[in-house]
């Protein structure tokens, strides 16, 4: 019995991790290439979810909604990059943190203005509803499996993009030496806009896919943004590989910790206090993990020292 529960929670953790990866891949790319700390990344998650909910209510198609989340967030990303973000690349981290903090306030209120304060709902398509038997007696939600599948697909796609294509070569070159590649004739400001839009669209897609399980509301991006930061700090800022491993690590630790820590503590303590202590520590677990990793490796698992 406990092993079935464990397996299910492990899958939940991986599903959570793959969505975190979509968020943190963009965040880590943007930091790696442009040196920008983008707190407003969670806003693209929200914009993606709202674009999806809007298109879903107009057309009724989940797949068009997913497409809308990608393009909606990408368009917002391009506009915001051109109007505001590109003025911040040369500034220090403090200015970036503050300007993007202000951008969160601005974008959240703008969305609330357009869509109202009530949460919207995005329906899971019919053929992804229900469950699927995986092993003998383990059944698991089809939609969550779909999320895992999409996450892995995009991770593979990103890997190919970064390692095999010309754009990927430019992105990696941009991480290593910006001045050099602009001297070699690459239009650096266009490259920056593309990277920013790519990151924004991945965040938007994650927002739409999670929005279908939870609800689509203003402020939905901030909790996951903080987790994405934890992920990229654990993985090493700028490293996509680090972001992937960090995401799965954080997703699984968080999910498993919240469920099993109270159970584990019941062995030593009385049930009531085990539940409260366990759930408290369970919700702090990933931050403890992050602190431990930074103490041992101050620049993250795959970060440059």
């Amino acid at each position: 019995m406990i092993s079935i529960l464990f397996f299910e929670q492990l899958l939940n953790g991986i599903q959570f991790g793959t969505m975190l990866f979509l968020m943190s891949a963009g965040l880590t790319l943007i930091f790696g290439v442009m040196g920008l700390i983008n707190l407003a990344h969670g806003s693209f998650y929200m914009i993606g979810a709202f674009s999806a909910a809007l298109i879903a209510s107009l057309t009724g198609s989940f797949w068009l909604a997913l497409l809308a989340s990608l393009s909606g967030a990408a368009i917002a990303g391009v506009l915001i990059e051109i109007i505001i973000i590109r003025r911040l690349y040369r500034r220090d981290h403090l200015d970036q943190v503050l300007a993007t903090f202000a951008l969160i306030l601005l974008l959240s209120e703008a969305v609330r203005w357009c869509f109202g304060a009530f949460p919207l709902y995005l329906d899971i398509p019919k053929n992804l509803n229900g469950t699927l038997p995986i092993l003998d007696d383990i059944i698991y939600s089809k939609y969550r499996l779909f999320i895992i599948f999409m996450g892995l697909l995009i991770a593979t796609g990103l890997y190919i993009l970064i390692t095999k294509t010309r754009l990927g070569i430019r992105i990696r070159a941009g991480q290593n030496d910006r001045q050099m590649i602009s001297a070699l004739g690459v239009d650096i400001s266009k490259l920056y806009t593309i990277v920013f839009a790519l990151g924004a669209s991945l965040a938007g897609l994650a927002g739409a896919m999670i929005g279908a399980i939870q609800s689509v509301e203003v402020g939905m991006g901030e909790p996951i943004l903080i987790l994405a930061f934890v992920v990229i700090v654990i993985g090493g800022i700028g490293s996509i590989k680090g972001a992937f491993i960090g995401s799965i690590l954080v997703g699984v630790t968080d999910t498993i910790g919240r469920i099993f820590l109270p159970e584990l503590l019941k062995v030593f303590m009385e049930p009531a206090s085990a539940t409260s202590v366990g759930s408290s520590i369970g919700s702090m677990l990933i931050y403890i993990l992050m602190a431990l990793i930074l103490i041992i490796k101050p620049s993250g698992l795959f970060g440059k020292t």
């Binding site: 700390i37 003025r87 209120e109 800022i237 409260s276």
Partner: protein
């Protein structure tokens, strides 16, 4: 510099004038609003020491603000229901006396800052920003999921904690208490900044390697600044709980860290009175915009972005430039 001193006197004057007018015309709302400015100003001055003067970009000062607040709330809560807080390793009971609460709030914030500082200062740059954020979030989630003190709903303390002789429930009296703390914190900051220790931590912001090369142990200097900074912010948190007679996990949230940072930057980084001006500007904006539109945060965000993109060195610098032209 001379002009800034002149300006600072005016800031203090207004900080005093508004509550006095509020007192005379029996408008306690303005007294409370100014008290809020004073308290948040103290929190900002605390952060400014680390962030402005020493270059330690802490994105987790809500941890100290919230801890100071929770210590105050918990002590007062236990004084009310006369249960012990804990009985091991020593017996601790609640208290509603500010003279007891303040030292405990100050000491616990200092201890927390010491622990967070010891661990975080091993990293630099973005990693430092993020690890301080992570520690604050850790406390935030702890406060949310710990059911004994209200969890997510927060903790009401009904009666403001007391002091001997004076009546703290009176808005003006409480304002004077907060102003006293503000002046004390400013006095301590001035002494610190102009001391040899102050020279050292300001030099670290410019060039840490050089400071090391003259034989100063920069880690210890940074740690001490971080502890002092966290302690001051923790004190502000304690006063804030008493102002609202309520504490909830939202003061530990990362948005609180962001707001304290905004006070510092809005007013002008590494200016002694900057955080007070920043906090005042923020609150006035919140109140005035909030009365016109529900979406005041949109305009706040816009103003902040414009400030960062175009003004850059804070509100106080605007006055300075104007004076230069007049000459």
């Amino acid at each position: 510099m001379i002009f800034e001193k002149f300006l600072n006197k005016w800031i203090l004057f207004f900080l005093f004038l508004i509550p006095v007018l509020g007192f005379i015309f029996e408008e306690p709302y303005y007294i409370t609003l100014t008290t809020k400015v004073v308290i948040l100003g103290i929190a900002g001055i605390g952060l400014n020491l680390a962030l402005g003067y020493c270059g330690l970009i802490s994105f987790g000062h809500a941890a100290f603000f919230g801890l100071g607040g929770y210590v105050t709330g918990i002590l007062s809560f236990h004084a009310l229901n006369s249960e012990l807080i804990f009985s091991w390793p020593f017996i601790a009971s609640g208290s509603s006396n500010m003279l007891v609460i303040w030292p405990i709030a100050i000491l616990s914030s200092a201890f927390l800052a010491l622990v967070i500082g010891l661990l975080s200062l091993r990293t630099t740059g973005v990693y430092f920003i993020m690890i301080t954020l992570a520690f604050a979030q850790m406390l935030y989630f702890f406060a949310i999921s710990w059911p004994n003190y209200g969890g997510e709903d927060g903790l009401s303390i009904y009666m403001r904690n007391s002091l001997p002789i004076v009546n703290t429930m009176d808005p003006f009296t409480f304002y004077v208490i907060c102003l006293f703390w503000l002046l004390l914190v400013i006095f301590i900051s001035v002494k610190l900044i102009n001391s040899s220790f102050g020279m050292a931590f300001q030099a670290i912001k410019q060039n840490e390697e050089r400071v090391k090369s003259v034989g100063i142990e920069t880690f210890k200097v940074k740690l001490l600044v971080f502890v002092i900074s966290g302690t001051i912010t923790g004190l502000a948190g304690s006063l804030y709980t008493d102002l609202n007679r309520f504490i909830s996990p939202s003061v530990l949230n990362w948005q609180m860290s962001g707001e304290i940072m905004v006070f510092v930057i809005l007013g002008g980084i590494a200016r002694l009175y900057g955080p007070i001006v920043g906090a005042a500007f923020f609150i006035v904006l919140e109140q005035t915009l909030g009365s016109y539109t529900e979406n005041w945060q949109f305009w706040l965000g816009l103003i902040l972005i414009l400030e960062i993109l175009y003004v850059r060195s804070g509100i106080l610098s605007l006055f300075e430039k104007k004076l230069k032209y007049e000459k």
